[in-house]
């Protein structure tokens, strides 16, 4: 039982990070139907920027809390600028191109960002500065840390903020209208360019927050870390029904928990034949199974082809 609870807690933490990243994918996909493959790289850059900024501030003698906040702010700002630039430079010129074109561009941008990051930060693993005190708690035989609690709380708060933005502001309404039907939305006076740019910028900001949390959680970062994270977050978005904000959040958390439980029990389930290093396949197996039975995801609307 304690393993079960423990893995649920671990999964929840990992899942809330997936959820934040998944939101970036789902917003862009919902509004313009593009898989922004480079989003994982935006998250990675968020982590690395924080290392540089917070690390050097701490070295300069600043209090850890101040340095950490400054690092977070810097990451959010850099990622927002990066998201904006990505959309403006790479994707906007391809708005009316065939679907495959922007997808290839996205893959290209992902490679470019990864290698730029390697040139800037090098190819070695980097240590993420400890921004939070190490405190352990115990509950019903399961252990968890202050960092885990803060990750879940920050994710929840960020997601709540996003929901308020999307459902309570004019920009949010414009975003939802564009997702429904860009042509009609633009006839109604919505500035499509601004809405799409906003989706990229907001998604990147969420990605930066996620990046900082990944760094804090694993205390290590690397220029290739964004790739698998992005892939799984995208899987989470598809799992929840891509284009659907609540779906991305639930999909992320679900994926985190499935992965954690899978890693915890795979050995028992297969009689020791497969070990926990198969953790990474769960995301994809779950994805394939869900799409087989519910092609529009768990919470997605059915989008039928119209004749």
């Amino acid at each position: 039982m304690d393993i079960f609870l423990q893995q649920i807690i671990n999964g929840l933490v990992q899942g809330s990070i997936y959820a934040l990243v998944a939101l970036g994918y789902t917003m862009v996909y919902g509004i313009m139907g593009l898989i922004n493959f480079a989003h994982g790289e935006v998250v990675m850059i968020g982590t690395l920027v924080t290392i540089t900024v917070a690390g050097s501030l701490i070295k300069a003698g600043m209090p850890v809390a101040v340095a950490g906040l400054a690092g977070l702010m810097a990451a959010v700002l850099v990622c927002m600028a990066l998201g904006w630039a990505l959309e403006r430079v790479a994707y906007r010129p391809l708005r009316n191109a065939p679907r495959l074109t922007p997808l290839i561009t996205a893959i290209g941008m992902s490679i470019v960002l990864q290698n730029l990051a390697m040139m800037i930060w090098g190819r070695n693993y980097m240590t993420f500065p400890s921004l939070l005190p190490k405190m352990d708690f115990e509950f019903a035989g399961a252990n968890f840390t202050l960092i885990q609690i803060i990750i879940v709380l920050v994710s929840a708060a960020t997601m709540g903020g996003l929901l308020l933005l999307v459902y309570r502001t004019k920009l949010g309404m414009a975003m939802r209208a564009t997702a429904q039907n860009p042509a009609v939305a633009s006839l109604m006076g919505v500035n499509i360019n601004r809405v799409i740019a906003a989706a990229f910028v907001i998604g990147s900001a969420l990605g930066a927050v996620a990046g900082v949390m990944v760094g804090t959680y694993y205390e290590i970062a690397h220029y290739q870390m964004g790739f698998m994270l992005g892939l799984k977050a995208f899987t989470a978005a598809v799992l929840g029904g891509i284009g659907n904000l609540a779906g991305a959040m639930l999909g992320g958390i679900l994926l985190g928990i499935i992965e954690a439980l899978g890693a915890g029990y795979i050995g028992d389930l297969t009689g020791g034949f497969l070990g926990s290093h198969y953790q990474d396949i769960f995301a994809f197996v779950v994805l394939i199974v869900v799409l087989m039975f519910k092609p529009s995801g768990l919470f997605g609307e059915k989008t039928g082809d119209r004749a």
Partner: protein, 353 residues
Amino acid sequence: MNFGRFFRSTAGIALTAAFLIALPFVAAMGGQAWVRILDFAILYVFLALGLNIVVGLAGLLDLGYIAFYAVGAYAWALLASPHFGLHWPIWAILPIGAALACLAGVVLGSPTLKLRGDYLAIVTLGFGEIVRIFLNNLNSPINVTNGPQGITLIDPVSFGAFKFSGTTQIFGFALSGPQKYYFLLVALAILVIIINVRLQNSRIGRAWQAIREDEIAAKAIGINTRNLKLLAFAMGASFGGVAGGIFSAMQGFVSPESFSLIESIMILAMVVLGGMGHIPGVILGAVLLTVLPEVLRYGVGPLQMAVFGKMLVDPESLRMLVFGLALVLVMRFKPAGLWPSPERKRELQETGK
């Protein structure tokens, strides 16, 4: 200039043949490494044309193509190496590799081909990762793949006593291993080109293109889209399997590292960058994307030393950076690819783009 007609004329065939025969000897002047690069260029032509059936003709976005290549490569590696002590002949392993890859294609394709294009992309991508993870970890408790270390001492291609590794004397010429593989690969590539051309202009090929253009309209005129998509997927996978087998034999060594996602992306990029669905374009894409990075690899280091007197950027990362930028720029300025089919080119000009 009509390239199709040129390649079919006697003079065209003679010139092309002379060029293809001379090429490995010219390359050998720069060292056997260049012949090996040439071999890989042709292997990628083969792979890209296999993927072209799936992506270019049938319009199915497959981001896990390398998985089928891996299946073929490991089939060869396991059946012709000391790992299991098996040394089966080529006429047995190559068909087995192709059949296994084909089977993998059908198993993956049958549940997923009803999905929308982007979902198919992500599912195939996930499948590719699953295959790689299994290759990496299936070394315990039963050692099937030997894990990350991979499998070594794989038998080369051989027909009877004629081995493709090592140097052989033929008609007074000394043919190196890579040069022999070159001719084998050229023969295979010509075969796959012929198959591509014939399929494209066939009943099945037209049905694939119809599915790519408009699936509902294709259904409405009586095309069984599900079966045809599966057929395209399985055929592409089989080509991948054959290529994987040759790769395994040529290298003498396989490890999971050779089958990462970036390889799938590379092959897809060859198809798209060259000119999707247009065979000469795909060939151009494959050759460019294999040879240019090597030129960069060998050229950038010395160039930096000469100009700046020190290494400013690591050539390997510059290579990938240029590759990424090339993808972005070609999509931006030549969305139909570097060498699109004449019809598409004409159309782009007509719309004044």
